[in-house]
């Protein structure tokens, strides 16, 4: 039988140790790599295309959530986390499993059994890991960086450098100080997770950083356009104008 190729991505050595120790009991599993941070984890996943990933959430450089966002492969994911009250509910809906550290051996065995069953079944039944990401707010705090992928490079864009977000069918185009990037996400996600006081949804298709707005000009009969510092002009809808008014107090 072909073994389930497994990667452990976890930044604390003792946590990796206990996971490996517990996993010894499973002959079906083969641990092919261990990574101590999100970036090397991502590299390893795209390089060796594992079947199963044990993923910590809080890690240096790239968190577990961000890793899933930019990952193109779709291995089965088991989250291991010490404490994440918001994630818990979401994982119950979507991830193969989530383990709250410290977890007992039996708990891990259940999780691994689920994976074995799942991988045994036909591939199309598999839930893709990326569908998890839409379901839950990333964390208790608002978004403070956005991960995008350009070819093989991963860029982390701090929200302060974000100029505006434009809707493009199922994607959004993110315009930032260094250029632009396409990402598969919804406008709703950004509307809900970008810091309220810094970003305003001025139009069905545009969310703009308040800092970037230079002026607002009337356009046509009762429409407006926002002129950015860089000179770009973005349409402002009637309800968007109301939002702007509330936000900027004019």
């Amino acid at each position: 039988m072909k073994k389930i190729r497994t990667v452990i991505i976890e930044d604390e050595a003792p946590a990796r140790e206990i996971l490996k120790h517990y996993l010894k009991d499973f002959e079906e599993l083969e641990i092919i790599a261990e990574c101590a941070d999100g970036f090397s984890g991502l590299k390893t996943i795209s390089f060796s295309k594992p079947d199963l990933v044990f993923l910590d959430i809080q890690m240096p450089r790239l968190t577990g959530f961000e890793l899933i966002e930019v990952m193109t492969e779709k291995p089965a994911i088991i989250f291991t986390t010490a404490y994440d009250q918001f994630a818990i509910k979401a994982f119950e809906l979507n991830a193969v499993d989530y383990l709250l550290k410290p977890f007992p051996k039996e708990r891990l065995h259940n999780a691994v059994k689920k994976v074995i069953e799942k991988i045994g079944k036909s591939k199309d039944e598999e839930k893709s890991a990326s569908s998890i990401i839409e379901k839950f707010p990333k964390s208790a705090s608002t978004l403070n960086r956005i991960v995008v992928r350009k070819g093989n490079a991963i860029n982390l864009i701090p929200v302060e450098r974000l100029k505006y977000v434009e809707a493009q069918d199922d994607y959004v185009m993110i315009y930032h100080a260094e250029g632009k990037a396409l990402k598969q996400q919804t406008m709703k996600f950004y509307e809900e997770n970008l810091p309220d006081k810094d970003f305003v949804r001025i139009h069905r298709s545009y969310i703009v950083s308040v800092q970037e707005i230079n002026r607002i000009e009337p356009y046509g009969k009762d429409n407006h356009v926002a002129v950015l510092k860089s000179g770009e002009k973005l349409p402002v809808s009637r309800s968007g104008y109301k939002h702007l008014k509330e936000e900027l107090n004019f």
Partner: protein, 367 residues
Amino acid sequence: MKHPVFGNRTRFFVWWLVWLFIGLGQALLYYFAYGSIVNLTIVDAILSLLLYSGIALSLWYPFSFFNKTSEKLVNVITNLIITGAISVAFWFFITKLVLKLIMPEQVNLNEYWIATTPYRIGTGVFIYCLLILTYYLFVSLSNLSEKMAREARLESLVKETELKMLRSQINPHFLFNSLNSISSLTITDPDKARLMVIKLSDFMRYALSRKDEQPVTLQSEFDNIRLYLDIERVRFGDRLSIEETMDSLCMEVKIPVMILQPLYENAVKHGVYESTGKVTISTSVISTNEYCEITITNNYDPEAISAKGTGTGLSNVSRRLELSYGNKAMLKTEKQNGIFTSKLFIPGTPQVNSQKDEKNKDSNNRR
């Protein structure tokens, strides 16, 4: 303040009941004073008490005004006496006037009036004194209940804040990750696991036993910080190293308990959590003439766009310093060249504090 009688239905009822009794008393008194004119004494009693009751009700307003404005007892008493004299005189004449109007054919009214005058004045003054006492009682009672309510509110507020502080101080990430490390060590290194359980217990005990804002010595605060950093070092291994230089002169200086913890948690969070390389957290304590200067530095990965904290850790520290020292202590932070520095200035040279230490030792031991 609200009017004591109008504000409440039961009181309104009781008020009139009391006047009824006073009226009966007066009727009896006048009956004995003048003799057999039952009709007149009853009408007089009802009329005069009705009038007095009205005056008494309105007397509340000048009374509460005097009570509020003048601080001196002499002033208050003078005001009350003058008001009393005016009220009684007013009552006396208006009663006579009305009585004459409604009973014009009563023949011996004048005689009756003269005979009852001393009693009348006496009753008026007596009722006036009674009234003032009642009002005083009412004011002090309502002040008391207000004070009690305020105290209860304050107490619950303090408790709530304390709980919040406690919760924010023991980071759940830290706790559960430490437990996970212990779980792992039980397999790979049971002795170390045991040691870590002890360290974690000591740390938790220190954090949880903090019932009030009783200050502790810098020494015990640093002992606890060392426990914390030791535990974190088990989790992160080589990634975290610790350096410290301590001026022993400062170690007996008192500071608010757990005030350093958030600074070290910050150092770990923004240093170790966000970086793949090695992070050194170094502490130096220097005593100057006025201050004990505590400097905590950590390097961080400047490329990591760190998850910005909510800033509650640092602002909590500043707030608590302000509450304990006024503006004599302060916290300064700075970020430069990949090094994050927090500087804490705690007032008090060792000499100044040593006397207080002796006093506080007893209470500390008891705890």
